[in-house]
Symmetry: C2
Subunit: 358 residues, 2 copies
Amino acid sequence: MRYVVIMAGGSGTRLWPLSRQGTPKQLLPIVHGRSLLRLAFDRATRVVPPEQVLVVTGAGYLDKVRAEIPELAPENFLGEPVGRDSLNACAWPAAVLARRDPDAVIAQVTADHIIEPVDAFAAALDRAFALAEDDADALVTLGVVPTSPHTGYGYLRRGEAVEGNEDACRVERFVEKPDRATAQQYLASGDYWWNSGMFVWRADTLLAQLAVLEPATHAGIEMLAAHPDRLEEVFGSLKKVSVDYAVMEPVSQGRTSAHILAVELPIEWRDVGGFASLAEVLGTDEDGNAIEGLAVTLDASGNLVLNTAGSGHVVAVAGVTGMVVVHTPQATLVTTFDQAEKVKSLVGLIAQSHPTFA
Amino acid sequence: MRYVVIMAGGSGTRLWPLSRQGTPKQLLPIVHGRSLLRLAFDRATRVVPPEQVLVVTGAGYLDKVRAEIPELAPENFLGEPVGRDSLNACAWPAAVLARRDPDAVIAQVTADHIIEPVDAFAAALDRAFALAEDDADALVTLGVVPTSPHTGYGYLRRGEAVEGNEDACRVERFVEKPDRATAQQYLASGDYWWNSGMFVWRADTLLAQLAVLEPATHAGIEMLAAHPDRLEEVFGSLKKVSVDYAVMEPVSQGRTSAHILAVELPIEWRDVGGFASLAEVLGTDEDGNAIEGLAVTLDASGNLVLNTAGSGHVVAVAGVTGMVVVHTPQATLVTTFDQAEKVKSLVGLIAQSHPTFA
């Protein structure tokens, strides 16, 4: 049976004070009042029924994550006691689902981006599911056709087409985040896709690769699936590593008997990792300001003004441009788009001096 | 007997959202936690005992004003039902005090500025009191030696010295707010003082001038003093005009038998009408930011950051310079020192669209 596993970890420091230690980015109602997690769940249920959706998140976020998807049964939430990167966020649900359903095929998806159109996403997932179901040696990765020489994403080089399946191709190799010049070459060549960090595989196929490539993790994950009560004890002992580094890259290099296939994800793929992309998502008013919440502007343009405090507090901005002003009940941030990268350090500073606000 | 009347009206729009319709500038704890009104009262009691201090303010502010000066008896607060400019803020207490004490001599002082040193202020008031007591035809004005070609103040041109009193001089004429070039001439000439808007006069002398120059106001004010219960009805019918325009200028032009004397007020006189002056009052930290309240800055300098929300809210500023960031529980303002003049229009905008925040 088909399953979709949504990975919803991470803290999203760059969106502070919208995101905070207790409220990661995926839970923020930043897309016209809906969270990225909610949107990811709604996309998933275009492909499988809700019972076949799992969410992997930090144990500390579980209450908020459950509140965001109240229709999901408690056993479909997996709460990681500590962050252990994407390998375990893939391997743990694979082991859990393999016990529930030996024929489980899993689409492992992220909740960090805005994805449009949803129909195209669902169709690509269907194609990838079919590939994984047909080929027990395949790990299928979803590749986004790049629209810019983005240096924040990994890339994959497309190889030859899969015989009898025009929609899929082999993956020649994975490459980590490139520098600007390399990314521009990739874009110009047309041979590269962005590595979306989304995959489809049979649970038993992934677990078999793990048994070869990361035997300790394999043993730990199997123990965890068999003895859920030992979560705290076992999870912290797992190696912290990405699924790309631990599985996809070695498999693409022929280190196991499996192989990697890629399916094109013909979508617009927008990161909302920072304030600039968030402003883009919100769009601008007639003065060129991206505004959400109660705000008044005068002779101001090109600003992002976010106010989550409801109707009891107004944010007023006069005579400025290129500013980022974010107001929440606990904190107010004032910076510029140009300087917004400083927010991460700022949060570090606040974590030291006023930890309750970080 | 000597009295000090403190005028504490006005809304201080330029300091929004610190000052709001219900909380005028003089009540804000902006000078190291103390309000300008409290400082004015403390100055007044250097010259007369508390029983001889009156405060004229807007009726709507009376509760807050009383709370600020709890030691003052209720009958020493005069609450104007509507703002009627400075003539009535001078004439009303004069009529009230003339009934309580036919020999009342009044120092009419403002609460808009920071005045230092207080000793020099008290000494100048003493000299002015002595002049007014000695000369029943004198209206005494207090002149500040200008330190800059300020275009926001009125000026007075000093005339000949008063015989037998080195500290006082005649006033040749009053001039309204000059343009920059004129103000520079005034400053260079050494013949001009800033019109402080503070005066000393016998109550009966002021009332006698009024009877000649503004007979309707005179009659209205006398009725008000005799029938305090008719306040609402009478006050609104009074002409709205400044004491400078209605009394000081015509008297300086010889329109009555009285004359104007001026006493030097050898003080540092700092307006806190806007954010730039407020930043000056606060002083700067090692990064060059003027900060009050809970705030964290990173790679930011030359900013004013005010946070009156207490310990439950942090204001964080990163990578900006020359910004004015003011946070109160009801509103957050973001502008620059250069653009701060826009705040008045901004408040007008807010008064229309979201009146509760204005």
